[in-house]
């Protein structure tokens, strides 16, 4: 289903039939020649095409559109945010409560 806002996903849930998604993860690999990052959120890892290079192990929030290339899903980033000091553990607890409250 197409949305006009970013849907929060864990990496293992990302498919390429969604218009825009977001996730938070750590940079585990960088290809400086293609500006391609591999970002891992603990549930999976995914390629992210970026417009600049980030640091290894940097925590990022990626908002982008997934597509398939060579059998792999790549996220074409629309926005990449530096989430270095983000308390991911607390955020996940809040997300869990949100699911209970809003659904």
């Amino acid at each position: 289903m197409k949305h006009n806002y970013s849907i929060e996903k864990e990496i293992h849930e990302i498919k390429c039939d969604e218009s825009i998604i977001s996730f938070i993860g750590v940079v585990v690999s960088i290809d400086p020649s293609t500006y391609m990052l591999i970002v891992d959120d603990g549930t999976g890892a995914i390629g992210v095409s970026a417009d600049k290079l980030y640091d290894m192990e940097q925590v990022l929030r990626v908002i982008g559109i997934p597509y398939k290339e060579g059998g792999q899903i790549i996220v074409d980033s629309e926005v990449i945010q530096d989430f270095s000091d983000f308390n991911l553990e607390l955020f996940k607890k809040i997300q869990k409560i949100e699911k209970e409250v809003y659904t």
């Binding site: 006009n4 806002y5 977001s22 929030r61 559109i65 926005v79 000091d85």
Partner: protein, 255 residues
């Protein structure tokens, strides 16, 4: 002196699900009444700037698209508030306070304050939003029970007051019932507002990356709408920032 209405923290999805009310009277503040009876006169939120802010040439008007992960919304700035848009760019995480407005059936924000915030503010905002929702839901449930039992608004308000429930909630229930009825009538009698959403649907369906040429949009809608109406609606969508024109006569959905 007119009382300043405070802001409420809520996700954008709750605003979109609510009903917009423009009260009678020149100086009355617009509000959105949520499905749980909360009247939101000012919204406070944390969201990502999804497209570069736009400013009119004379600097008296600007707009920006905000996305909080539950919904997105066009946010406008007028006159001196346009300076809020000068210090932000696409990708920034911001906290905003804004009044609510509606244009052609779509809710919008009129920005009053906007500032960059660190990522952990997103968590705080969402935690506080949950708290607002839970508190409101609890009160609303009791108010609904009183309303159903009393059948008379005045009596229900008195009883709510005695039981420590905000009597305005009884009023809000009455208002929601009226708005639901009114919305149903509008759905039946007013199909014109569908044109913009149909244009967006066509663009989303046909866009292969470079946008969709105007002729193709007109062709797709030719059985239902006049070309002039479609053209005008596209101009409106452009001015609202919901579409952009990557090249002449090609239109693309703003993300």
């Amino acid at each position: 002196m007119k009382k300043r209405m405070p802001s409420s923290r809520l996700p954008l999805a709750e605003i979109h699900k609510g009903y917009f009310v423009k009260p009678e009277g020149d100086f009355a503040t617009n509000y959105v009444i949520t499905q749980e009876g909360l009247k939101v006169y000012r919204l406070k939120g944390v969201a990502t700037i999804m497209a570069e802010p736009r400013l009119s040439e004379d600097g008296t008007f600007g707009s920006v698209l905000l996305d909080d992960g539950t919904q997105s919304i066009i946010s406008l700035a007028f006159r001196e508030n346009t300076k809020l848009l000068l210090s932000i760019k696409k990708g920034d995480l911001v906290q905003f306070i804004a009044k609510l407005s509606e244009w052609q059936g779509k809710k919008q924000l009129n920005l009053e304050a906007l500032s960059l915030v660190p990522p952990n503010m997103m968590t705080l905002h969402r935690a506080e939003s949950i708290l607002t929702t839970i508190r409101q839901r609890k009160q609303f449930k009791i108010a609904q029970k009183i309303y159903d039992e009393e059948k008379n608004v005045r009596k229900a308000m008195d009883r709510a007051k005695k039981e420590g429930i905000n009597p305005d909630l009884i009023d809000a229930i009455e208002e929601i019932n009226y708005l639901i009825e009114y919305a149903e009538e509008n759905r039946i009698f007013d199909s014109d507002t569908n044109l913009e959403s149909k244009i967006i649907e066509v663009i989303e369906k046909l866009d292969e990356g470079d946008g969709v040429v105007l002729d193709l949009i007109l062709y797709e809608l030719k059985d239902e709408y006049l070309a002039d109406d479609v053209d005008n609606a596209i101009r409106e969508l452009l001015s609202k920032g919901e579409l952009y024109e990557p090249r002449v006569n090609y239109f693309k959905r703003t993300i």
